[in-house]
Symmetry: C2
Subunit: 163 residues, 2 copies
């Protein structure tokens, strides 16, 4: 890839169809990378909805929870990859993610309150054939190379258009 940097240009995709109320279904099937169209072995679908306390039907996870799952899974894949590279045998890895949100933002009650999270905490419990220091170094390296960690901690431009 250092000799063919165009192979490194990826395009990730999802499509989302409204079902009813706040319920939607997102589907992930294909992406572009290594210079050509790529297909997953199967389609992956994600149901999303709002909970009943928001007068919705709770047919799926809340979209903000889906983002937390994306963050946790990105960091966890990184922990596994870095551990393997360093010859560390993992026995179990569990991440617990919690994110605060003042929903006065999304409800439009207080314009000073942001719509998104006021912060996210990820806490790892890792059982591995390594010292605490080595495990902490694996987690730090995963964080340093994580795509989703970067997407959340730094601004990304999003354009929204109507066909």
């Amino acid at each position: 890839m250092t000799e063919a940097p165009e192979a490194a240009q990826f395009r990730w995709r999802a499509s989302c169809e409204w079902v009813n109320g706040t319920h939607s279904r997102s589907t992930i099937t294909d992406f572009f990378g290594l210079g050509e169209e790529q297909k997953h072995k199967q389609a992956f679908t994600f149901e999303a909805d709002h909970p009943e306390i928001f007068a919705s039907e709770d047919h799926g996870a809340t979209p903000v929870e889906i983002v937390l799952a994306g963050l946790a899974s990105c960091l966890t894949a990184g922990v596994a990859s870095v551990a393997q590279n360093r010859g560390i045998q993992l026995r179990s890895v569990k991440a617990t993610v919690e994110a605060g949100m003042d929903i006065q933002g999304i409800l439009g009650i207080d314009s000073e309150v942001r719509n998104g999270f006021d912060g996210i905490n990820v806490r790892y419990e890792i059982d591995a054939d390594a010292t605490k220091e080595d495990i902490e170094a694996v987690v730090a390296q995963s964080q340093k190379r994580s795509a989703v960690y970067d997407v959340i901690t730094n601004p990304t431009n999003v354009t929204v258009e109507v066909a």
Copy 2:
């Protein structure tokens, strides 16, 4: 909620267990809001993995794709809610999301390249009982109140710790 702003303090959660390789399973069951612990009607699980071209087994969506599903579903729930508030009858709503990424960032080949997306485009196809202008106004309002749109377009602090 304007009279009891403490009810607006939510805590959203996900847990993630490593399965093997880059494969993990995230589970969403509960959150805190309206001053007390809340439970979803059922647990929602999300399989994540890396694709085969990354020498993984493609047992689930790539974490960055999961984030795109979170963005699409958040904006789509907003479109549905705003349309309902405005008395607009939706017939179909479909969002197509695409995000570019130069993976020289996550691979550590070029430190000038960011790990995350270089930008995201969301394209809506909406069939509704409304003019194009009214539909565009619905999408714009959804974007203005979207939690995930805010999380992605603005920086959010993430702390990662090892127990």
